[in-house]
């Protein structure tokens, strides 16, 4: 099977996955034990039959379920996401997502980057010096770091940074770019073009990104360590050594490059953790991202919005999976050649 055919097959597989996910979401939201229309109304309005009827009509719940299902699916398909009911009442959901999504992407971007640039080198370092004290300290640290709950880590980090002047002798707010609006909260993404604006927005999400990336960082470290250990004992490394390749070239060209291969799929598959974790991290750090929006919609009872956002999340995850498949075929030529 050629690579193109393999990728085509993966693409084809993605369609039923999105459809199944969206169908499950529709079923949970609209066929579940809660009446979405009643949930949208206040106590007094529920008893008012006219208001209830109006809400039902607007949600399309007065039609037969199958009709409603197809209507809902087709409007999602063309990204006609409707308007909100409770949260930011009456605003256009597309606009709302466009407003909230960039902050989450900014946070996710940095958390992936930090995890890679801290976790992978640490793992490689531990692997190159396996069974030394440094290895044990690094491995142990990675394991404990991974086991810490994100929300708790976030609270503790905020507390540390908030009183950094008393603990470390310098104030986090004034190191580098000034954070005039507090150490947590929304990053200002409008000034990204300027150097100062970029740094400021980065510094604002940095603590949150470290916390969100903590689980991935631990994973990448562990896998990096194992990968180096495996590559180190391969025959071609031995051969290079015998040939008299310099130590530097041996490490960078023969060991580390090959050890990177198993890491790529891990990094993309961590998107699950990042998107799921964004709810808690955004809540703790007060970032108005899409995870926070989802949580607010859920607790305030705006169930149609919950369903719509879930569809967006499904699209994001399936998209990341497809990117992973593409990367996989590029890096590892064996993929797609071994049959299914």
């Amino acid at each position: 099977m050629s690579r193109a055919k393999y990728l085509g097959k993966r693409l084809l597989m993605a369609i039923p996955v999105v459809w199944l996910g969206a169908t499950m979401t529709w079923f949970i939201i609209f066929m579940g034990p809660i009446d979405p229309a009643a949930r949208l109304l206040s106590e007094g309005q529920v008893r008012n039959p006219a208001a209830y009827q109006a809400a039902q009509t607007q949600l399309g719940l007065n039609q037969p379920p199958l009709q409603h299902y197809f209507d809902w699916l087709s409007s999602l398909l063309v990204f006609d996401l409707g308007q909100t009911w409770l949260l930011y009442q009456g605003s256009n959901v597309n606009a709302l997502i466009m407003d909230f999504l960039p902050r989450t992407l900014w946070l996710g971007f940095w958390s992936v980057l930090i995890a890679i640039f801290v976790g992978v080198p640490l793992g490689f370092y531990a692997g190159m010096r396996s069974n030394t004290v440094a290895d044990y300290v690094a491995s142990m640290g990675g394991i404990v770091w991974r086991a810490m709950p994100n929300f708790w880590l976030g609270i503790m980090l905020l507390a540390l940074l908030g009183s950094s002047e008393a603990i470390f002798g310098f104030a986090w707010e004034t190191v580098g770019p000034d954070l005039l609006t507090g150490i947590s909260g929304n990053p200002d993404l409008t000034q990204l073009g300027t150097v100062d604006g970029f740094l400021r927005a980065t510094k604002k999400v940095l603590p949150a990104a470290i916390v969100l990336g903590s689980a991935s960082m631990g994973n990448e470290m562990r896998i990096g360590r194992t990968a180096v250990l495996e590559v180190k004992n391969q025959d071609y490394v031995e051969l290079a050594k015998v040939k008299g390749v310099s130590k530097r070239s041996l490490v960078y060209k023969h060991i580390l490059r090959n050890a990177l291969v198993p890491l790529v799929p891990i990094i993309t598959s961590e998107a699950f953790l990042l998107i799921g974790g964004s709810v808690l991290v955004e809540t703790v750090f007060g970032i108005n991202g899409i995870g926070y929006l989802f949580y607010q919609a859920a607790i305030q009872g705006d169930l149609p919005l919950v369903g719509t956002l879930m569809y967006v999340f499904i699209l994001m995850i399936v998209g990341i999976n497809l990117i992973q498949d593409v990367l996989y075929t590029l890096i590892d030529p064996r993929v797609g050649l071994e049959g299914d």
Binding site: P149, F151, W152, A159, N219, F272, G276, T283, F313
Partner: protein, 473 residues
């Protein structure tokens, strides 16, 4: 089978008798607690049946069970007493409440490790005396686990956590009923140093005076409050005892965790066996379904489902814990299924499956008898890791105010309640539960690592690592 010779050999050296005797002694020490627990559970089950309003007969039995003396109970080693000017009253041997509590807590753990040692000794006795075979493959697995320090560390942590959950009522310096649920229905005596006399106060009132709310008013770890009550982990922002809260909270975490992992392991194993046995379209459709479930991030799915199902009758059972376990199982099986599918497919290619099939055995029998035993090891590994992840997720949900319903103690809620005081003198409210979660999750992950290395020393330890991370909570 026991034959006459081994029986004689065993009874001859008296080890078996000694082992049985110690077992009986250990049981008698806690017989009252075991009986009470059984009766309480029976009553709860009986009352859960619709239409049953009272269980008079069972309640009678329960009070009878309560009267059996128990070594590790609050009654045998009381720590709640008061100072009367010259010495402590109503505490164990007149000791200070802190010392009395420490003795009881230590005894609980000594007892628990005693039970563990007894089980290990029993297994060794069985292996050396009663078992016909000198060696079985399982011996190697256990021996490898015994020399795996990291795995043993995990085992000890997990065991201590389970002990905490089992003995939760005896471990706390006070009880949930007296300190939290019914604090205005109980009163305590204390030594009022101003008037120089013993006074009585309602617990709820005392709690108001012992709250930890920052620098001005704080009862930190390992200290007494103004009413002579000892708080090993300090008090919470509402003056309740944090240690008691956490001990009882460990119970619900463990129960939900075990229930959900057990359920999702069952689902995952049966689906993995089915897809491995039938392959082809059955396998493909299961891949699609699990991909679709996985495309919804688990934590978000949990939030959505707890909201939607929040008003149903299932949510009434065990403070919402049962519903949480069900949701966990039905959203989490995919991760385990993915890990099990590979090994199951490998087993399904072996000759004995073909042989069994041509022999005319039914597919369900083949799956159960000839395939399942080969994937149970993987079930243990991923089960242990998923349990750690489940504990983080449950805590994360209750931090958000979802999941376990509020009056019931849960670790994540303690983190939430103390959040505003982290930068003040009352830092302990948030810090301690987080450290406990980290420790327990590390323990479960370490145990999983240990089991993996014990079952398959060649295995690639870089496999599926996301299980322990709790869906990003």
């Amino acid at each position: 089978m026991l034959n006459r010779e081994t029986l004689q050999r065993a009874s001859g050296d008296g080890r078996t008798l000694a082992w049985l005797g110690i077992g009986l002694l250990l049981f008698l020490l806690e017989a009252g607690a075991a009986a009470t627990f059984t009766m309480e559970a029976l009553i709860k089950i009986a009352l859960a049946v619709p239409g049953v309003d009272s269980a008079g007969f069972l309640t009678g039995l329960e009070s009878a069970a309560r009267s059996i003396p128990t070594l590790l109970s609050r009654e045998a080693i009381p720590n709640q007493g008061y100072y009367n000017g010259s010495g402590y009253q109503e505490t164990f041997l007149g000791l200070a409440p802190a010392v009395a509590w420490a003795i009881r807590a230590t005894l609980v753990y000594v007892y628990a490790f005693g039970i563990m040692g007894w089980v290990v000794a029993g297994y060794r006795l069985y292996r050396s005396t009663y078992r016909k075979a000198d060696w079985t493959p399982r011996d190697d697995v256990l021996d490898r686990l015994r020399s795996h320090n990291w795995g043993l560390f995990g085992l000890v942590i997990v065991f201590m956590f389970v002990t905490m959950a089992v003995f939760a009522p005896a471990l706390g310096p006070t009880t949930v009923d007296q300190n939290m649920r019914n604090s205005y229905g109980n009163d305590i005596s204390y030594w009022d140093s101003e008037s120089g006399s013993v006074e009585t106060i309602v617990v709820g009132e005392a709690n108001l005076g012992s709250a930890s709310r920052g620098n001005n008013q704080n009862v930190g770890p390992w200290s007494y409050d103004d009413y002579g009550r000892f708080h090993p982990f300090g008090t919470m922002q509402n003056g309740r005892d944090l240690f008691t809260f956490l001990m009882v909270g460990s119970r619900i975490s463990l129960v939900i965790g075990v229930l959900s992992v057990g359920l999702s392991a069952t689902i995952a194993a049966s689906l993995a066996l089915t897809s491995a046995y039938y392959k082809g379209r059955v396998d493909l459709s299961m891949v699609l379904v699990s991909d679709a479930v996985m495309a919804m991030p688990q934590l978000l799915l949990l939030i959505m489902l707890t909201t939607v199902l929040g008003d149903t009758w299932i949510n009434e059972i065990y403070s919402g814990g049962f519903l949480l376990a069900l949701i966990f199982a039905f959203t989490g099986w995919t991760y385990m299924w993915r890990s099990l599918r590979g090994p199951a497919l490998q087993v399904s290619e072996r000759e004995w499956i073909d042989a069994a099939r041509s022999f005319g055995q039914r597919p369900t029998t083949i799956m159960r008898k000839h395939m399942l035993p080969y994937i149970t090891g993987y079930l243990l590994i991923y089960g242990s890791m998923t349990l750690g992840g489940a504990i983080i997720s449950i805590a994360g949900l209750s931090y958000l105010g979802l999941g376990v319903a509020p009056p019931t103690p849960e670790w994540g809620r303690a983190v939430n309640l103390g959040q505003d005081y982290v930068r003040t003198g009352s830092w302990h409210i948030s810090l301690i539960p987080g450290i406990l979660i980290t420790l327990v999750v590390t323990g479960f992950n370490a145990l999983g690592d240990g089991i993996r290395d014990a079952i398959d020393p060649q295995s690639d330890s870089a496999g599926d690592e996301t299980a322990g991370a709790g869906a990003g909570a």
